[in-house]
């Protein structure tokens, strides 16, 4: 007869979460996006160095709906969005759940700069929908949502916030450590911040920048030091994509991780995809930011440990 007090306590946050989800849907409907659904259980995940799928029989639970949504883009669906559950092996911490909610959207005729603007619009729209104004409080800071938001390249961010340069961090194989220690805690403290132009090898499905082949047209959104979204101009060249997947699999092999088979149907259709941009945004974390909640456990009804 024990009452589940943590769940009772989360009721207010979960009510707000429902309003946030409605706000997101409203935004995309007004912008003429079509809501789609793609299978959660798939034969093979996209080979990426550091993203591990949870197996489901001889198949896998998807780590994101990316490949299926791109196949829809290649078939002529030009503006689509999806809100779905995704699964990633062994990701658990105060900001991670192995099962979490992702919002992904794709649009033809646009690049990553256009997506950054759309991100600003979306989050401002949802803030209004749940009764927040131009400002939000997160983690003890007042964050100003008025446009434009901060934009800083990865290289600049290393120059401003780290003693190490980006090229040195890559050379010494300490890029992730430096990002986590020196850069992330400084991003989006006054206004939300987009950090863009990642090293080419850190964007397996992103287009390489024409003016500078060492970087990929990829960005991340941070609010109050918390990473919320990852977007990029899409790579639509199947040969190049296949080569990159092979490289990612080689990395996986060198880390002692299982290799994933090539997503052949996706690769066969990719050349039909128009120049596009796409983005994934962590819905649980967006709820955390809007409600000023520090741990992801408090914005879901049940964590794996609660089951």
């Amino acid at each position: 007869m024990a009452k589940n007090w943590p769940l009772v306590r989360r009721k207010k946050a979960l009510q707000q979460r429902a309003r946030i989800l409605q706000g997101i849907r409203q935004f995309f409907i007004e912008k003429s996006y079509m809501e789609v659904e793609t299978p959660h259980r798939i034969p093979t995940p996209a080979p990426e160095s550091h993203i591990d799928a949870i197996s489901s029989g001889s198949w896998f639970l998807h780590t994101s709906p990316e490949l299926s949504m791109k196949r829809m883009m290649a078939a002529g669906y030009e503006k689509i969005f999806q809100i779905c559950r995704c699964w990633r092996e062994k990701e658990r911490g105060s900001l991670h759940l192995p099962e979490f909610t992702l919002l992904e959207w794709y649009r033809a005729e646009g690049d990553y700069h256009l997506l950054m603007e759309e991100c600003e619009e979306l989050i401002r729209f949802v803030a209004t929908a749940i009764g927040l104004g131009e400002k939000l409080i997160f983690s003890g800071r007042e964050i100003d949502l008025s446009r434009p938001w901060e934009r800083i390249s990865v290289e600049e961010a290393f120059r401003c916030y780290s003693k190490t340069s980006m090229s040195k961090a890559l050379e010494q194989n300490l890029f992730d450590e430096m990002v986590v220690q020196d850069i992330e805690p400084r991003l989006g403290l006054i206004k939300p911040a987009f950090i863009y132009d990642y090293p080419a090898e850190r964007g397996a499905l992103a287009r390489i920048k024409q003016e500078d082949p060492t970087v990929a047209e990829r960005f991340e959104l941070y609010i109050g030091g918390l990473e919320l979204a990852n977007g990029f101009s899409e790579l639509v060249d199947s040969e190049e994509q296949r080569r990159r997947f092979h490289m990612e699999n080689e990395n996986r092999h060198s880390f002692g991780k299982p290799i994933y088979s090539m997503p052949d149907k996706f690769l066969a259709e990719l050349d039909h995809m128009p120049p596009s941009a796409g983005i994934a945004l962590g819905v649980d974390r967006l709820v955390m930011v809007f409600l000023d909640i520090k741990t992801i456990d408090e914005v879901v009804a049940f964590t794996p440990e609660d089951l």
């Binding site: 990426e48 900001l95 991670h96 992730d176 450590e177 990002v179 220690q181 990642y198 002692g256």
Partner: protein, 187 residues
């Protein structure tokens, strides 16, 4: 052998040949990057805390500590003397190595002493201990203006907050994990 994904608060591991306990732990994974395990670790011999970041797949040797039932005898300066209940051998542990445990030690108290490679490095207390209050303000019955808690000094010299109805000379139970008042003991 532990791997980085086993890291959690309270885990004891060997680093540079010395035993450490994880006191804080955070999982990070920057976009498209690798999993990083950020920890604070306390050296169980020196008491010093270090910050370390580990990658997925890194391995650790577990710090296997021997526990021996002993009795606290007496304190001499910064030295705390204990006696092995089986061999009657006496050992000394420094105040620094004892950490917060020193707040709960009274003579003839039975506890577990932790040994690392035959060297005593600390003690393991029971979660709850009973100690006597030797000093606290009297309770004025019916006075609701006072705060919910008042300070009290225990026979070990430790000061903690207790409810207003606790009186001098009473025995109380303390949670040694938090150092806080737990309940009054009926004698």
């Amino acid at each position: 052998m532990y791997t980085a994904s086993d890291l959690r608060k309270g885990l004891k591991v060997i680093i540079d040949d010395e035993p450490y306990i994880v006191t804080a732990f955070e999982f990070s994974k920057p976009g498209k990057g690798q999993a990083l395990y950020r920890t604070k670790l306390r050296n169980m011999i020196t008491g010093l805390t270090i910050d370390r970041t580990y990658r997925e797949g890194e391995t650790f040797e577990p710090a296997s500590l021997e526990e021996r039932a002993m009795q606290f005898l007496y304190k001499e300066g910064d030295h705390y003397h204990f006696m092995d209940n089986e061999t009657y051998e006496q050992i000394i542990i420094s105040e620094e190595s004892l950490g917060d445990a020193k707040n709960f030690l009274i003579e003839n108290f039975n506890l577990e002493v932790l040994l690392f490679r035959d060297r005593a490095i600390g003690v393991e207390l029971p979660n709850f201990v009973n100690l006597r209050v030797i000093k606290t303000e009297p309770w004025v019955r019916g006075d609701t203006s006072k705060a919910d808690f008042k300070p009290a000094t225990l026979e070990t010299g430790y000061v903690l907050r207790v409810p207003p109805f606790i009186e001098e000379g009473e025995l109380i139970t303390i949670d040694t994990r938090t150092g806080e008042f737990s309940k009054r003991v009926k004698e």
